[in-house]
Amino acid sequence: MTTRPTRFGFAAAATVAALTLTGCVANNTGDAAGNSVTVDSSATECAISASEAPSGNLVFSVTNSGDQVTEFYLLADDGLRIVGEVENIGPGISRDLVVLVQPGDYFTVCKPGMIGEGIGKTAFTVTDSGEDLSFSGDIAEQVDAANANYKSYVKDQIENLVVGTEDFADAYIAGDDDTARALYAPTRVFWERVETVAESFGDLDPRMDLREADLEDGQEWTGWHAIEKDLWPADAEAGFEAYDQSKREALASQLVEDTNTLYSNVQDLEFTLDQQTNGAIGLLDEVASGKVTGEEEFWSHTDLWDFQANIDGARVLYDGVRDILVVKDEALATTLDTEFEELQTLLDAQREGDGFRLYTELSTAEIRAFSDQVNALAEPLSRLTAVLVL
């Protein structure tokens, strides 16, 4: 639905991927922040306040007292494999690295200037606290599989979107409004399932999915919602005129063209684990901010189709990483399973024929129940990235 920059952040998130291979997790159990060690990264030193700590949750509070951008690494006993890192710490800035560490030998090192071997490489020992940290350290294959599976899913959805959009555009151009209206929501489902990816191409999203409310003065309105208003003009302002044939053709052909561009764009995308987990919470936020409020499908009121599609997409993302989550935090997995089910039960209750009741047919209590359940799911879901990735 958005003109807005999105959270998917392909470039920015890429650096986190390597961490998933190491089996460290963030504290997530709700106890105190765990043992804390301070690190002072200066131009010449990587001064650490302790040389050992007990196993379990460990916080490295890294302060950059130098004048270059710095990084801090916790390395495995081979001095190479990265167990945890914080990057992009500007001069004068402090940032925490939170890791769940197993007993063993490690190294700490700072990398001011972000290049080279780093400085102040120091042995660091983690003693056995007796805390049970039993989980498999090697989840690399599962992560690779999740990444690849999600890539296939995105491509599949966009392929379906291309085909569906062509049929929709044909009907609209031909003046077969009944068919166009019937195809509208079922076709948009393919967009909404992968919305956080689809809207991540800055210039395409506003051309394809901009709502009228998000226009600025003088901006041309194109895409799905511009056509939606023409197909469902009942709520349009007084004086709204149906589009003429040339406008219909222009809007429809641009939508087809942009969808094809989107198709090309997603062919070579690669996904990282944090992009998937953040994508899941991003889809829930789309539900919370646009669908629950009935603002997304302002003219057709088919918001529940989008709602279900966003949840489908979030569910796919969650299922893709669920096996990894069970190893790391089974309680969270159980909670998420339950909350997804509860939300699906609410949605199923609104099914009608092949689709759903219109948003305008929902009672205030029903809308409120959706909103509450979205919160109930989104809050634990928002912990997923930290549990799986960091």
Partner: protein
């Protein structure tokens, strides 16, 4: 209906006040409130009273008080003379209230026994807490009703529609506005309530907004406060001590076109709803990326401490800038707008909750500037188009007002606009 019947205030009363000067503690009539420095210690190190009369209106570069009650009014079907009388009566009552006196001469607990008191009373015994009352005129005041069309300053533009505006008509615009600020919320509410009462029959409340937790500092002595996203807000704000900056960016000059506005300014208000529920489930990484600053210290992500200038060129890993191109600090920064600055004076708000059980919370943004078209508008356009924060905010209210210069002590707010100064 004449003002004498509606308010009990009169031009004579106004002149009487002017003759006596600003009435201090113990010198007023029976209804005067206890007032004066030292009567009550406040948490905020600001003076307990600010002058109402003067070259500029108070409440602009005045150190931002803790609380706000802002009100926009529509003027009823009255004459030009009646509008003048309303402004005179408002000025009279406002001058009294800012010194800690009652709105009317008798006060809340005196006067004819068979008449309602001329002050509502809830501020009795309370110090004014730095109360300032600041008046403004909206674009619609300059239509054909009051013969003011040729007085409309060119800087008082109609704001364009910004992308991501989701304005609710009932929260937009207004012929007149009053900004009441005090460290005591009850004092600010008292001011708006009594001024609304004085206006009955002449102007009616269109919308109003309570605010708490100032979201910017207007003097260097004030610590930078936080907005409801939990981040410091207004670090790079214009400050009263920066007199050259204030002269250049805040005060209207005679050369700007409308001579009667000299020493005035232009106020833009924007009611910004924050979806705090979704914000609260975003990672610290994303929150800091969106602002371009650290959450604790408020330092720019390029390094340093709160007041270090951001270095937008400084790159981190993969040569990506440490401060995102679409971060709030980048898009709003003077460097992005050829040095243009505004004086922000906004407040947090929570208006209960909505139908979905979400806090109806956000920021009531207020800025003062000399020329909204070249200061506020380009900054807001850049933010509305690209701000990473837009995912978590929506603009629901909007208004612009010409804030005339302060009144001379024998006069009233807006006298110059009527050629009565």
């Amino acid at each position: 209906m004449s003002k004498d019947e509606t308010s009990g205030l009169s031009r004579r009363g106004l002149l009487g006040l002017a003759g006596a000067g600003v009435v201090g503690a113990g010198l007023g009539v029976g209804g005067a409130f206890a007032v004066g420095a030292g009567s009550t210690a406040t948490s905020n190190a600001v003076a307990s009273t600010y002058p109402f009369f003067g070259k500029h209106q108070s409440g602009i570069i005045t150190p931002a008080q803790d609380r706000l009650h802002f009100a926009a009014f529509d003027v009823n079907d009255i004459s030009r003379d009646e509008l003048i009388e309303l402004l005179q009566d408002w000025s009279y009552a406002a001058a009294r209230m800012t010194t800690g006196e009652a709105a009317g001469d008798y006060g809340p607990a005196g006067g004819p026994y068979d008449a309602p008191p001329d002050d509502t009373g809830e501020a009795l015994d309370l110090p004014p807490g730095g109360l300032t009352i600041t008046f403004g005129f909206g674009p619609s005041l300059f239509d054909d009703r009051f013969g003011l069309a040729d007085k409309r300053p060119s800087a008082l533009i109609d704001l364009p529609k910004f992308p991501s505006d989701a304005l609710q008509p009932e929260l937009v615009g207004g012929d007149l506005c009053i900004q009441a600020c005090s460290d005591d919320p009850q004092v600010a509410v008292h001011a708006i309530r009594n001024l609304s009462r004085i206006a009955f029959g002449r102007a009616t409340l269109r919308w109003s907004q309570l605010g708490f937790g100032r979201t910017s500092s207007t003097t260097r002595a004030q610590k930078t406060p936080r907005n409801l996203f939990g981040f410091k807000d207004g670090t790079a704000n214009l400050r009263a001590e920066d007199t050259a900056g204030v002269t250049e960016h805040v005060w209207a000059a005679a050369s700007d076109g409308a001579a009667w506005m000299t020493g005035g300014s232009y106020l833009v208000s924007r009611k910004i709803r924050m979806t705090v529920e979704t914000w609260d489930r975003t990672s610290l990484r994303e929150q800091e990326t969106i602002f371009g600053r650290t959450k604790g210290e408020g330092a720019p992500l390029s390094g340093g401490s709160e007041f270090t200038d951001p270095d937008f060129a400084k790159a981190g890993r993969d040569d990506a800038p440490l401060i995102d191109e679409n971060s709030h600090v980048k898009l709003a920064h003077p460097d992005t707008h050829e040095g243009v600055q505004i004086l922000r004076r906004g407040y947090n708000f929570v208006d209960g909750n909505d139908d979905l059980g979400r806090l109806n919370a956000g920021l009531f943004f207020i800025s003062f500037q000399r020329d909204p078209g070249t200061q506020f508008v380009p900054i807001q356009l850049a933010l509305s188009r690209n701000d990473l924060m837009n995912e978590y905010v929506r603009y629901v209210g909007s208004a612009i007002f010409a804030v005339p210069p302060g009144a001379a002590s024998a006069s009233f707010i807006g006298a110059g606009m009527f050629d009565l100064a």
